[in-house]
């Protein structure tokens, strides 16, 4: 299965939305850089991400979450990974699609 990375804030850009149209059940979605704003509770796209979590595994890059001061708002069930964990994910999934 694919690992999809999202590096743009879904609050201002449609990359996540297109990704979710194409991503298959069982694939992984990793939020990095400004994309981590997509992994938070209480925003207008929280429900979209929570729905995606029912069929896909969702991750967020912890160094980027912490840099932005939103570590206390990550949606429950989103798995935080560090850079080492990011590398592991790219080996566990078959390949990586970066939604630039």
């Amino acid at each position: 299965m694919l690992l999809h990375t999202i590096n743009k804030s879904p609050l201002v850009n449609n990359a996540l939305s297109t990704c979710l149209r194409m991503a298959k059940d069982g694939s992984g979605i990793l939020f990095i850089e400004d994309g981590v704003y997509g992994a938070l509770t209480g925003t207008e796209i929280t429900a979209v991400v929570e729905k995606a979590m029912k069929t896909k595994k969702v991750y967020a890059l912890e160094p980027d979450v912490k840099a932005r001061g939103v570590q206390d708002r990550v949606i429950k069930g989103v798995q935080l990974v560090d850079y080492s964990g990011f590398v592991d994910l790219t080996t566990e999934y078959d390949k990586v699609e970066s939604w630039l």
Binding site: S9, A67, R68, D82
Partner: protein
């Protein structure tokens, strides 16, 4: 924060300067370099306002910690704006609501205004710099 090579001062002219911040911090450099403009601009003693809207509001989020990503945490600098007499900081209500944020989440005191109010404010400026 930056080298400065000219004498500050606007030759006696005072204009209303508005900085519009709509970009998240760290993902791109706009937030950091825009803040450098505001700090340098403060020496010119103009009438300065700042609007934070869309992801620009996240620039002011409390609790930023860039240790693990090895970038420069510039959020404390917003607290220095007051010393530079930059005190008119506005956040857009609609953008705050879309992100579930309240003024308590932010590192500096801000005034929450609706988009319509900010539209009036914009019309009342002389120079608008957007980043």
């Amino acid at each position: 924060m930056a080298d400065e090579m000219m004498e500050p001062g606007g030759g006696g002219v005072t204009k209303k300067f508005l900085y519009v911040n709509r970009k998240a911090p760290y993902g791109t450099i706009y937030a950091l370099e825009s803040l450098e403009v505001v700090l340098i601009g403060a020496a010119f003693e103009q009438d300065v306002s700042m609007i934070f809207a869309d992801d620009g509001i996240y620039q002011l989020k409390k609790g930023q910690d860039t240790t693990a990503s090895d970038m420069k945490n510039f959020s404390p600098t917003y607290r220095a704006l007051e010393m530079y007499d930059v005190e008119k900081l506005y956040v857009e209500k609609e953008s705050m609501d879309a992100r579930g944020l309240t003024p308590d989440d932010l590192v500096v005191p801000v005034e929450v205004k609706t988009a319509a109010e900010l539209g009036d404010l914009m019309e009342n400026q002389d120079v608008i710099l957007s980043f």
